[in-house]
């Protein structure tokens, strides 16, 4: 029973630790957003469906400029389908914190119980030391 609980706690902790604290959200007015907010990076979906990241984007007229895979690029906005920007994901962040805390508590609980003796009546037996003793099976 204890080991099942422990496994569940660790599973939740692991799952929550793998979710990012950010998510990419669609920007409705990309040119205005990039010009005013100066995000460090945007994810662009081209009109041909290709997705790429622009690092340090800036807007000049109808053109978005920045670095794509280490190469300076100028992308006409006509060729851009969607623009997504990374934002903090509060829900995921909260889940991460709760999951992490649960994991820590679970591990502490597990560690504190290691080597605990099994009490049978007035006799204390150590089942790890001798599993054949009465009460250990």
């Amino acid at each position: 029973m204890f080991r099942r609980m422990m496994s569940a706690v660790l599973l939740v902790a692991f799952a929550s630790s793998t979710v990012a604290c950010h998510s990419y959200v669609l920007v409705r007015q990309p040119l205005e957003f990039i010009a005013s907010q100066r995000p460090p990076e945007v994810i662009v979906t081209g009109s041909d469906g290709a997705k790429f990241s622009i690092s340090g984007p800036q807007v000049f007229g109808d053109t978005v400029v920045g670095y794509v895979n280490g190469q300076y690029q100028e992308v006409k906005f006509n060729n851009v389908g969607q623009v997504r920007v990374r934002q903090n994901a509060n829900g995921k962040t909260a889940l991460l914190i709760i999951g992490g805390a649960a994991g820590v508590v679970g591990i502490a609980w597990f560690v504190s119980g290691l080597g605990a003796a099994t009490q049978t009546g007035n006799v204390v037996t150590d089942c790890d030391d001798d599993p054949t003793q009465p009460g250990c099976y």
Partner: protein
């Protein structure tokens, strides 16, 4: 910086073939000067136009700057000499967005044979930005000593070794450079192309050895620390990307 002057020289090269004297002035909003150390160790370069979207600061930058990880992390801080990527972040398109860090004027007496060329470009070294505030402050105060030496000057006396290839002219500018009040002869490699509205764009570059900063231009050797003291630096590049416009009435 020298490049600026050189660039002016290039103007001579690209100007229309008229025998009348032609005068050009530096378009400060569209012009920039830069320096770069080799090896740059992911942070040793600066420009007077950090507003240029193709430019990026190096590692250890101050807040508010963006770097491109694909480029910046290629070699990290390693002292790997590479003189092929100079400048590391060239300008691909001229935009009038730079800090007005330079002024200058050029005249050409004979634009057919390119004789009688003279010009001067002045750069204010306090506008050279690397993207790290403490480093820039140190360069201004301890290296360039801008309170004492307010400008760097590039005098162009002539242009030689002209090579025409389509709309592009390659040449060498001969003149002098003044840094920290000390003037030394210089030569700059130039690439000249036409820019809109009768303008000329001159990209220039020159290289000196790190020791020359001390022996030729009087920089404090201790201020450079290990870069020169331990001979980590191999080359020092200076350059410019200058746009010249015909002066009023020309």
């Amino acid at each position: 910086m020298r490049a600026l002057l050189i660039g002016a020289t290039a103007v001579l090269v690209a100007a229309s073939p008229a025998r009348a004297q032609v005068k050009f002035t530096v378009d400060a909003k569209s012009s920039l000067a830069w320096w770069q150390i080799d090896p740059h160790m992911a942070h040793l370069w600066a420009t007077t136009c950090p507003q240029e979207p193709s430019w990026r600061p190096g590692e250890g930058r101050s807040a508010g700057w963006f770097i491109d990880r694909a480029v910046a992390w290629k070699r990290g801080y390693a002292a790997v000499s590479d003189t092929t990527e100079v400048p590391l972040y060239p300008r691909f398109r001229v935009r009038p967005l730079c800090t007005e860090a330079m002024t200058g004027e050029f005249t050409v007496a004979d634009t057919v044979n390119w004789r009688g060329i003279s010009g001067l470009v002045i750069v204010d070294p306090k506008y050279l930005i690397s993207g790290e505030d403490m480093r820039d402050g140190y360069a201004r105060d301890a290296l360039f000593e801008v309170r004492k030496y307010a400008d760097m000057r590039y005098q162009v006396d002539s242009v030689i070794d002209l090579q025409h290839k389509g709309d592009t002219v390659k040449a060498v500018a001969v003149g002098s450079m003044t840094i920290r009040g000390i003037t030394k002869p210089i030569r700059y490699n130039l690439v000249v192309t036409r820019e809109g509205n009768g303008g000329l764009r001159i990209r220039s570059k020159t290289m000196i050895l790190p020791d020359q900063l001390i022996t030729d231009f009087g920089f404090n050797p201790y201020a450079f620390g290990l870069g020169i003291g331990e001979r980590i630096w191999k080359h020092v590049f200076f350059g410019g990307d200058v746009v010249l416009r015909p002066a009023a009435g020309h």
